[in-house]
């Protein structure tokens, strides 16, 4: 920044997208730039399970803390849920390093747009930008470095929380109610299918999501459960009309401990009622 005159490209009006600007000016800084041949899937750790669900007036996203590499646990305390801006958050599954870079680019993208334009993107607009970033990673995905996000946000105009799922080609699918991504999401979604109700309040929904993550960890070796000895608990991010905040560890710890206490009585977790 201390070189001489600012390059002409910086002074040229045009895009409000940081990713587009980066692609034009410094493509070497893009996540997954310079792909090399071969399958790279085993080179980097993988992040696993993310779940999200809406409740009246907001949306919650939660993720476990484990990253694996082959049969080994690579990270026990990884962060896979990130605030993207005040009213949205993104959880990531897949190739961990690349995913974190992608999130950093996405966060910069949203902030950059806001500063240049003086206004925020719509929730749909944000989801669409994330599509473009995921699609930009397609070459890496073909080589085994897949990144699949789960995007949640609060739509201030409609007053509701929204969830968007993605595929590795950047395909974007709005989800209703709840969604999951990552290796353990199969089991987590099974749990959510039985436990989720659209009218749950915030605290109950947090408990439901932690239950779902517990079920994922129960059956998927790549998903980490609550780690009482190390005091590592799922990351839970809540977004409402008042903005977003990540729940403090102590709060999630209390929920997780309650879940574990319940499982000591009934290892398979709460029973869904058999009614029509």
């Amino acid at each position: 920044m201390s070189e001489s005159r600012i390059p002409a490209a910086y002074m040229t009006p045009g895009t409000s997208s940081f990713a587009d600007f980066l692609t034009a000016q410094s493509p070497e800084l893009l996540p997954g730039h310079n792909p090399v041949p071969g399958n790279l899937g085993d080179l980097a750790p993988h992040g696993t399970t993310i779940v999200a669900a809406t409740f009246p007036g907001g949306v919650i996203i939660a993720g476990d803390r484990r990253a694996t590499q082959g049969n080994l646990i690579a990270e026990r305390d990884m962060r896979k849920v990130f605030p993207a801006d005040e009213y949205s958050a993104v959880g990531i599954a897949g190739s961990a390093g690349l995913a974190v870079e992608l999130v950093k680019l996405f966060q910069t993208e949203l902030e950059h747009y806001e500063k240049i334009e003086g206004t925020t993107l719509s929730i749909e607009g944000k989801a669409s930008r994330l599509s473009a970033l995921v699609r930009g990673n397609l070459a890496m995905a073909m080589q085994g470095l897949v990144v699949v996000p789960l995007f949640v946000g609060f739509d201030p105009d409609a007053g509701v929380g929204k969830i968007y799922g993605y595929d590795p080609t950047g395909g974007r699918y709005e989800q209703t109610g709840y969604a999951g991504v990552g290796s353990g999401s199969l089991f987590a979604k099974g749990a959510l299918k039985k436990l989720y109700r659209a009218d749950l309040d915030e605290d109950t929904l947090v408990a439901v999501l932690v239950q779902a993550l517990y079920d994922a960890a129960d059956d998927d070796s790549a998903t980490g459960g609550p780690d009482l000895s190390r005091k590592l608990f799922p990351l839970v991010h809540v977004i409402t009309a008042d903005g977003g905040h990540t729940l403090p560890d102590a709060e999630v710890a209390a929920v997780a401990e309650a879940v574990i206490a319940g499982r000591l009585q009934r290892p398979d977790g709460p029973i869904a009622e058999l009614e029509a």
Binding site: M1, I6, V100, K104, H112, K115, D242
Partner: protein, 287 residues
């Protein structure tokens, strides 16, 4: 056969400087004041959508007078430089000094190159630190000079009268309310009279180190300004004529100000956000 003119370099530069100064002096003044918790920027600006003061990065703000298209280009370049550096390195590696340098080089090169017309702009680059002593305020002129200002400074038309007014009354470590009152009084001061400027014709923004969010820039909304200025800015002030531009009451750019303040990501929810917590509504990335 015609003999080419000889124009001495001194004369050439003087002419260019006169040209730039004339353009700048047509606009209104903009003042910048250091107060106890940061830096406040204030200007008379009837448009609520076209800003003179803007956020560049977490702790860095930009304020400018002169030709809008020229300083808007500089602002966008600044945002791009800052975001690029923050993305490639770390958020802490983006500094106001670096940005002021880049602006100085750019303005200086444009001023002395024969092929371009000099920019008719004057800028502030402000950066706040953890304490008032580490706050920085740079003033940049059309020819690329950088002045490291202390306490207060004014740019734009009538900058001398406004600066003189501030010099007599400025005190260090003032509260935000006092700083804003002084800034607005200074903006209305001329050699001949003291005008009262309506709150809706003011653009006031601060870099506020008491904000819990990493992004310290916020705009002060007209309603809050009205409270601070009290009757000093009654709606009958003569400044009404300036509001010729049909600025909408709630233009899109102001919309985010209606949203609640952001919260720190790793802390418990804060008390309901203060009314004056304007833009930006977005929590920046923490990792």
């Amino acid at each position: 056969m015609s003999t080419p003119f000889y124009v001495s370099p001194e004369q050439l530069m003087r002419d260019r400087a006169d040209f730039a100064r004339k353009g700048i002096s047509r606009g209104r003044a903009l003042v910048s004041l250091q107060y106890a918790d940061g830096i406040v920027f204030a200007s008379e600006n009837p448009s609520a959508a076209l800003h003179k003061v803007s956020e560049i990065y977490d702790r860095i703000a930009f304020a400018a007078v002169g030709r809008y298209n020229e300083f808007e280009n500089l602002r966008i370049a600044g945002v791009r430089l800052a975001d690029m550096r923050g993305y490639a390195y770390d958020r802490r590696d983006v500094t106001g000094r670096g940005l002021a340098n880049a602006y100085a080089q750019t303005l200086g090169t444009i001023f002395s190159s024969g092929g371009e017309k000099p920019y008719e702009v004057e800028l502030f680059v402000g950066e706040i630190g953890d304490a008032a002593e580490s706050d920085q305020l740079y003033r940049l002129t059309y020819d690329g000079q950088v002045v490291d200002e202390h306490g207060f400074a004014a740019i734009g038309g009538a900058a001398e009268a406004v600066g003189g007014y501030l010099k007599e009354r400025y005190t260090e470590g003032a509260t935000l309310e006092d700083a804003i009152k002084l800034a607005v009084a200074a903006l209305g001061h001329t050699e001949t009279e003291d005008r009262e400027i309506e709150a809706k014709n003011l653009e006031v923004a601060v870099l506020d180190r008491t904000r819990t969010q990493p992004r310290k820039f916020r705009r002060i909304r007209p309603a809050t300004l009205l409270e601070i200025l009290g009757s000093a800015a009654a709606p009958t002030a003569p400044a009404e004529v300036e509001a010729a531009a049909p600025a909408a009451v709630e233009p899109p750019a102001e919309k985010p100000a209606d949203k609640p303040a952001e919260k720190p990501v790793d802390e418990a929810p804060l008390a309901p956000p203060a009314d004056d917590d304007g833009e930006p509504p977005i929590a920046p990335p923490l990792d």
